[in-house]
Amino acid sequence: MNEYARFLWRCFRISFVGDWRYYAWMTVLTVISLLGLNAYCKQLVNGLMTTGMTDQVSWGMYIANFTFLVGMAAAAVMLVIPVYIYRNKELHDLVIFGELLAVAVIVMCLLFVTVDLGRPQNFSHLMRRFNFPISMLTWDVIVLNGYLLLNCHITGYLIFCDYMKREPRKMLFVVPFVLVAIVWAVSIHTVTAFLYVGLGGRPFWNSAIIAPRFLASAFSAGPAFIVLTLQVINRFSHYKIPRQALLTLRQIILVALTINVFLLVSELFTEFYTGSEHIASTRYLYFGLAGGYNTLVPWIWTALCMSSIALIILYLPLARSLRFFNIACLLIIFGIWIEKGAGLIIPAFIPTPLGEVVEYWPTWNETLICLGIWAFGLLLYTIFVRITIPVLAGKLTYDTDYVYKPDGPSAPASLESTAPTP
């Protein structure tokens, strides 16, 4: 226990140490997080009046970001499955980075839901009267928090074992939890999809294809994000990411994105060929409605173009070049962020069930809160990675006095010699 407290203290210390790039990055993130906090304080005082939401469009960018991020969190398992089911050794250590991402992203999800609440001070009511299993939101509360705990346990345990130079007791403390986490990851995204799908009054959401599409898009955007993170780690630390790992992820992204595009085409065909009145929202999203209501049109087409270009790149031999692969990953992340965030949440409210068309655009304050949460999530993830790398490299262990110096190629060579090899 004592050792664990010391471990946490050292983790805390090390998160304040790095080279100038690390400081610059962390300072920028801290400043944006604080700006977001400031914006949230304003919202807390003045109410959700400070957002662009209305009774007509009653969920906006908070819930849109939440939805996208749940997918990112779920995608962490796409690293876990090859390792634990197919015994793919290349990805073994990378599982930790994936699961740490899940932890940071779930924290972001919870923050996005919290800032969306009109009366966060009533939060304790969730503990005192829980409409389970009727309300899908209660399911979401359970699965998201459960997923957070699961991943905290798995990563925390593995990292602490490395720190203590102990062989982790895998069959007892890791594998069962990992297997649960795999199913759980699918559940967090399915439950989040069901949150929307179950509403009969919103035809845009009331479609069985939403949940599978959620998973497909998550399993392309999530690994794409991980690919980029791994390369950042590769670039700025001693930790070397095996190239094979990136290639495995490329396969996953390729399959998931293809399925996603296929499901999208199925959905669009059903909607537009039928041409029933229920497609007003879909028409609003893709073509706009009469009267100049077309705020989302350029966004969704941008998203579609991005996904298509990424898909083409991935199918070409071009994608073997890391640069093109990275471009494809960026396109996927941004494209799916639009498609599954704003593109999924906002049109469902336009037109309203009574046929009124009111558009939504986030206010500056609302945007700052979103940026603040993103910055805070990245801050968390950076700290997690900052701690994990020296531990995995065997430099930060219980018996070494890890020198709190920047861990990067610029670090003096003498540091290397003090670090025992694992």
């Binding site: 604080l34 700006l35 509403l199 919103r202």
Partner: protein, 361 residues
């Protein structure tokens, strides 16, 4: 908070490591690094305080009241606890709006099933119901929250998706349109109740779906779930008009579940004016209607006006396909050729035109 100066200590600690004994980390505090760290810490704290500064305008009593934090859900309150809560609310209204309200809690009468009928042949779209409702139920005036939305629909269609919500005419009715007011339909199978994660909204014995404003967390899931767009959110603290002497223009007769002033960040909606209807009066929207287009009553009483309308007129409910079984129906003046003589079935299925007319239109 950085510690780049530790390189000066590096050599000593290097020795410690190589001797094999775990050396706990000790910060090497040189004057320079101490100053630098203090500056960073002070700077960080200052930035944090600056970020939190908008909180100075927070209504602390609204945000952190122990009494409110410990308050139980409405259904769990004992009569004594309820009286305490009512007293707290009275005091709060007195603090905020400078008058002592007649605040009560009126329970539903068992065996009563309220139903609302709206005569589309008569409604002229004057919107008097909209404003009477706002006055009666103490909705926020700015931004104004309205429970009733009157749709102006061109004749020859009954497509609400092509209705005009913002018609602005010198005179109503417009000869080429008909008017369809929509408010909470008090569904028998309410989707809003189903989705609420904390049971802050529920259906009472008399069929009215109510909200415990003290319990709601403002997630607006119910608002997304409602197929009739009947729920409203307090995006800001409600504001009310004042007369010349500074008195707030509020209805002083209030109940816990209906028209007491709401807080910032909670949902609200039509509750069939339960502060009136549960003591035998009629809803405010009905009383003000100049053409008698609105009918309200207990459907279990065969002699009530709504029961008679259900037996004799052509009726329909809005969005039957969503399966919510509303207690709010629309009807036309023309009598149905096959008027039933027996009482309408009490269940809401009785409202469905196909189920009860047999003949069709």
């Amino acid at each position: 908070m950085d510690h780049t100066d530790c390189s000066s200590q590096h050599d000593q600690r290097h020795v410690g490591t190589s001797s094999g004994t775990p050396t706990p980390y000790r910060a090497g505090l040189t004057r320079r690094s101490f100053l630098r760290r203090s500056t960073a810490a002070v700077g960080g704290m200052a930035a944090l305080v600056a970020a939190l500064s908008p909180l100075k305008d927070l209504d602390v009593e609204d945000m952190f009241s122990v009494e409110r934090f410990l308050q139980k859900h409405y259904k769990e309150l004992s009569p004594e606890e309820l009286e305490k809560v009512l007293e707290r609310i009275r005091a709060q209204v007195e603090r905020d709006y400078k008058f002592r309200p007649e605040l009560k809690d009126i329970k539903a009468t068992e065996g009563v099933q309220f139903v609302y009928g709206l005569n589309l042949s008569r409604c002229i779209g004057c919107r008097r119901c909209v404003h009477a409702c706002v006055k009666e139920n103490n909705q926020s005036r700015s931004p104004e929250i309205q429970y009733i939305r009157v749709l102006e629909i061109p004749r020859g269609t009954i497509d609400i998706e092509h209705s005009n919500h913002y018609y602005d005419r010198k005179e109503v009715p417009d000869p080429d349109s008909f008017y369809m007011p929509v408010q909470c339909h008090q569904c028998k199978k309410p989707p809003c109740v189903k989705v609420c994660p904390i049971e802050a909204t529920w259906q009472e014995a008399d069929g009215i779906t109510v909200i415990d404003y003290d319990w709601c967390i403002g997630c607006r899931y119910c608002e997304a779930a409602c197929p009739y767009w009947a729920r409203r959110f307090n995006f800001a603290k409600p504001t009310y008009a004042q007369d010349d002497e500074g008195n707030y223009l509020l209805n002083h007769t209030m109940t816990y579940l209906s028209n007491r002033p709401r807080q910032q960040g909670v949902m609200e909606k039509c509750h069939f004016c339960l502060q009136r209807t549960r003591v035998g009066r009629l809803p405010a929207c009905l009383e003000v209607c100049p053409v008698g287009a609105r009918k309200f009553g207990d459907v279990t009483d065969p002699e009530s006006e709504v029961s008679q309308i259900l037996r004799s007129k052509r009726i329909f409910v809005l969005k039957k396909e969503v399966g919510t079984e509303p207690r709010f129906f629309y009807y036309f003046d023309e009598r149905h050729p096959q008027t039933k003589t027996s009482a309408p079935t009490v269940t809401i299925e009785g409202l469905e035109p196909g189920g009860r007319t047999g003949g069709g239109h």
